[in-house]
C-alpha cells in the first residue's frame, strides 16, 4: 500500500492552470474533479435557461412566446441536462476531489480512464444540444423517451440516443473508478466501517450505476432498432408492447433517482456533525439505511406507471414496497436530527444549506409518499403535483447538497475562505425563491393542471405567475454563487488546514489547498 506507483500514470509536476494541455491530458483526481464541477455548473446555467423558457411561456395562460413543439423539447432537454449534465457530473466531481483524500489515497485507482470518462461528456452534451437545430427539432417526447411518441422525433432521435449512450458510458466508467478506488486504495487501517459516509454513499451509488445504466442503454438501443431496423420490441403492429419500454425504463429510472440523491445524504452526513460539534449519530444505521434504500430501489419501479393498467396485485405490491422506503429514509432524517440534538450549533453557509436540505427534502419525501398511494395516484399522475414532488427532492435536495458541499470544501480546495455574509445571502435568496417556484405547483397539480403542456386553464394563472417569479429569482441568485466561487478561487482570507472548528476526516489533515498528489505516504488512521 505504501509503495504507490505514481510515476507510471502521471507527471509529478503541475502545469500552469492556463495551459489547455494540462486540462485535456490531466489524470489528476483534483483537476478532473474541478473539470467535472465546472462542466456541471455550465450545464446548470444551460438547463436553467431552458427552465426559464418554460416558466416564461407559463407566466400567463395562452400561447405567447414559444410554439408547443419547442416548449416540449425544452421540458425534455431541461430534464436531460439537469439529470445527466448537472447532478450526476457534480457528484462525480465531488467524488473525484474527495474520495482519494477521504480514504488516504494519492489519486483515483484508474487515472487514465478518469480522464476519458470526463472528456466524453462535453462531446455527448454538444451532440445532445445540437439536436435543437436539426430538422424536426430536439427530442420533445419527455426525458422518459416513451414510445411510440418518441419514435416520431425528427432527425434528432439517433443523436439523442447516441449521446445518452455516451453519458451512460461516462458514468459507468466513473462508477467503476470509484469502486476500484474505495476497494483498493484505502490507507492501511481505513476499514470499510471507518469510511466517511460520503464514501459509503458513493460506493453504493456506484454499484447502482453499474447495475442500471446498462439497462437504460439496452432500452434505448431497442428504441433505435425499432425505429430504423424494423424490430418490434415496442411496436404494437409487430407484436411488441409500448408499456414494456416503461417497465425497462423505470427499472433503470427508479434506481437512477437514488443515484441522484444518495451522495447528497453523504454530504449532509459530513456537514451536520461539523457544525453541530458532535459525532454523527448512528453511523452504522446510516450505512445500513443507505444499503436498504439501494436494495428497495430495484423493486419499486412500477409506481411510476400505476395508470398503465396493472393487475391489482401489482399495484398493491409496488405501493407497499414504495412506502417501505420511507423507513430507511426516516432513519436517516432522525439520525441527522439526533446529531444536532443538544449540539453546539453554528450556522455557517454549508450548515444552512444542509439544514435546508433536511427540511425541504423531507417535504419532497412526503409528497412522494402521497404519490406512492396507488388509488390517489390516478388523480396526481402527470400533474404539476408530480413536478412539485421531484423538484423538491432534486432542487432543495440534490442541488442544495451539492451547493453545501461546494461551500464546505471550497476553502480546502482553493485555500481561501468564501465571503460568509454573501454566502448566507445566497442561501436565503435560494430558499425563498425555490419555495416560491415549486410550492404553488402542489396546489395547481392537485387541482388538475397537467405537466408538459404549454397552456393551462385560467384558474391556475396566479400560482403559475408566482412560480415564474420564483424561477427567475432562483436562477439569478445562482449568479451570486458563481461570483462567490470565482472570488474565493482568486483570493481572500486564507483557510487553515482544518478550515472548520470541528471538521473531522483525513481531508482536513492536508494543507489548504492540498498538494497536487494528496497522500504520497499513507496517513495513520486512529
Amino acid at each position: 500500500m505504501s509503495t504507490v506507483a505514481t510515476d507510471d500514470h502521471h507527471d509529478d509536476h503541475q502545469e500552469s492552470p492556463y495551459s489547455i494541455k494540462r486540462w485535456l491530458f490531466t489524470t489528476n483526481h483534483k483537476d478532473i474533479g474541478t473539470l467535472y464541477l465546472w462542466f456541471s455548473f455550465i450545464m446548470f446555467l444551460i438547463g436553467g435557461v431552458m427552465a426559464l423558457v418554460i416558466r416564461t411561456e407559463l407566466f400567463e395562460p395562452g400561447l405567447q412566446f414559444v410554439d408547443p413543439q419547442f416548449f416540449n423539447s425544452m421540458t425534455t432537454m431541461h430534464a436531460i441536462m439537469m439529470i445527466f449534465g448537472v447532478v450526476m457530473p457534480a457528484f462525480t466531481g465531488l467524488a473525484n476531489w474527495l474520495i482519494p483524500m477521504m480514504v488516504g489515497a494519492t489519486d483515483m485507482a484508474l487515472p487514465r480512464m478518469n480522464n476519458w470518462s470526463f472528456w466524453i461528456l462535453p462531446f455527448a452534451f454538444a451532440m445532445m444540444l445540437s439536436t435543437l437545430f436539426m430538422d424536426g427539432g430536439g427530442p420533445a417526447g419527455g426525458w422518459t423517451l416513451y414510445p411510440p411518441l418518441v419514435l416520431q422525433t425528427g432527425d434528432a432521435l439517433p443523436f439523442v440516443i447516441l449521446s445518452m449512450h455516451f453519458m451512460g458510458l461516462s458514468s459507468i466508467m466513473g462508477a467503476i473508478n470509484v469502486i476500484a478506488t474505495i476497494l483498493n486504495m484505502r490507507a492501511p487501517g481505513m476499514t470499510l466501517m471507518k469510511m466517511p459516509l460520503f464514501v459509503w454513499t458513493w460506493l453504493i451509488t456506484a454499484y447502482l450505476l453499474i447495475a442500471v445504466m446498462p439497462v437504460l442503454a439496452g432500452g434505448i438501443t431497442m428504441l433505435l432498432t425499432d425505429k430504423f431496423f424494423e424490430t418490434s420490441f415496442f411496436n404494437a403492429a409487430g407484436g411488441g408492447d409500448p408499456v414494456m419500454f416503461q417497465h425497462i425504463f423505470w427499472f433503470f429510472g427508479h434506481p437512477e433517482v437514488y443515484i441522484l440523491i444518495l451522495p447528497s445524504f453523504g454530504v449532509v452526513s459530513s456537514i451536520i456533525p461539523t457544525f453541530a460539534r458532535k459525532p454523527l449519530f448512528g453511523y452504522a444505521s446510516m450505512v445500513y439505511a443507505t444499503g436498504s434504500i439501494a436494495f428497495l430501489s430495484f423493486i419499486v419501479w412500477a409506481h411510476h406507471m400505476f395508470t398503465v393498467g396493472m393487475p391489482l396485485a401489482g399495484e398493491l405490491f409496488f405501493m407497499f414496497a414504495t412506502m417501505l422506503i420511507a423507513v430507511p429514509t426516516g432513519v436517516k432524517v432522525f439520525n441527522w436530527v439526533a446529531t444536532m440534538w443538544r449540539g453546539a450549533m453554528t450556522f455557517e453557509t454549508p450548515m444552512l444549506f444542509a439544514l435546508g436540505f433536511i427540511i425541504m427534502f423531507s417535504i419532497g419525501g412526503f409528497s412522494g409518499l402521497m404519490l406512492a398511494l396507488a388509488p390517489v395516484d390516478f388523480q396526481y399522475h402527470d400533474t404539476y403535483f408530480v413536478v412539485a414532488h421531484f423538484h423538491y427532492v432534486l432542487v432543495p435536495g440534490s442541488i442544495f447538497a451539492i451547493i453545501a458541499a461546494v461551500y464546505y470544501w471550497l476553502p480546502k480546495w482553493c485555500g481561501n475562505m468564501y465571503n460568509e455574509g454573501l454566502g448566507k445571502a445566497h442561501f436565503w435568496l435560494s430558499t425563498i425563491f425555490v419555495n416560491l417556484t415549486f410550492f404553488p405547483m402542489h396546489f395547481v397539480g392537485l387541482a388538475g393542471m397537467p405537466r408538459r403542456i404549454p397552456d393551462y386553464a385560467l384558474q391556475f394563472s396566479d400560482y403559475n405567475a408566482m412560480a415564474t417569479y420564483g424561477a427567475f429569482g432562483f436562477g439569478l441568485s445562482q449568479l451570486l454563487f458563481l461570483y462567490l466561487v470565482i472570488k474565493a478561487i482568486r483570493g481572500g482570507e486564507k483557510a487553515t488546514s482544518q478550515v472548520w472548528e470541528n471538521a473531522e476526516g483525513l481531508e482536513w489533515t492536508l494543507p489548504s489547498p492540498p498538494p497536487y498528489h494528496s497522500f504520497t505516504t499513507p496517513p495513520v488512521i486512529k
Partner: protein
C-alpha cells in the same frame, strides 16, 4: 505489476462483466415479464383453446352488451368498420360477427389489427375463438373484404360488468411484413 494495479484490474474486469450482463438483462426482461405473468397468473388474456375445450354452460339469464370499435393508427389509410356496433350476448355462447375493411389506396397493403378490451377485468373473460387479428390481413388495391370474428363471453365475467368494449387498432405493416416475412404462425403467438 504491483499488487494494487493487479487488484484494480480484477475489480475493473468484474465490474465490466456486470455491465455487459446488465445490458443483456435489459433484453431478457422482455421474455421475463411474460414468464413472470404466467407463473403468478397476473396475465390478462387467457388461452382460448384451453377455455374452449372446457365445458361451458350458457347463461341465458344474463345479457352483456359487447361494443365493437375500431381505429386506424396514424399512417393507416384503410377504412374499417364493424358490421354491427353493438351486440347483446349471453355469456357462454359463441357469437360470430364481421368487420369490413377497405383498402382505399392504389396499391396492395398488409394490415394488422391489435385488440384492446375494456374494462381490464374483461380481458380474461372475452375469448376469441377466431379473429382476423390472429393473422395479418393483406388487401388488394381498392378492394373491400369482410373479416370474421367469433367470440364468447365467459360466464365467470364478474356480475357488475354489463358492457364490454372490444376495440381494434389497425397498423400498416406492409413494409415490415415484407422485411420480416411474418408468417401467420408468429402472429398467432403474438396476438393471441
Amino acid at each position: 505489476m504491483d499488487k494494487q494495479t493487479k487488484n484494480s484490474k480484477s475489480v475493473v474486469t468484474k465490474l465490466a462483466l456486470v455491465c455487459v450482463c446488465m445490458f443483456g438483462f435489459g433484453y431478457v426482461l422482455i421474455p421475463l415479464y411474460d414468464v413472470f405473468c404466467d407463473l403468478t397468473g397476473l396475465r390478462f388474456t387467457q388461452d382460448s383453446k384451453q377455455l374452449v375445450s372446457q365445458e361451458i354452460q350458457e347463461d341465458t339469464t344474463r345479457l352483456v352488451t359487447v361494443e365493437f370499435d375500431v381505429s386506424m393508427n396514424q399512417s393507416m389509410p384503410w377504412k374499417v368498420k364493424p358490421a354491427i356496433s353493438k351486440l347483446q350476448v349471453h355469456p357462454g355462447r359463441v357469437y360470430i360477427t364481421n368487420y369490413i375493411a377497405k383498402n382505399t389506396t392504389q396499391s396492395a397493403m398488409i394490415g394488422q389489427a391489435v385488440p384492446s378490451i375494456t374494462p381490464y377485468v374483461a380481458n380474461r373473460h372475452l375469448v376469441k375463438t377466431e379473429c382476423f387479428c390472429f393473422e395479418n390481413q393483406p388487401i388488394e388495391a381498392g378492394k373491400e373484404v369482410e373479416m370474421a370474428l367469433s367470440f364468447m363471453i365467459n360466464p365467470k365475467l364478474p356480475k357488475d360488468v354489463k358492457v364490454v368494449t372490444l376495440s381494434y387498432t389497425f397498423f400498416d405493416i406492409t413494409q415490415s411484413a415484407k422485411i420480416n416475412k411474418l408468417d401467420s404462425k408468429e402472429s398467432v403467438l403474438a396476438f393471441n
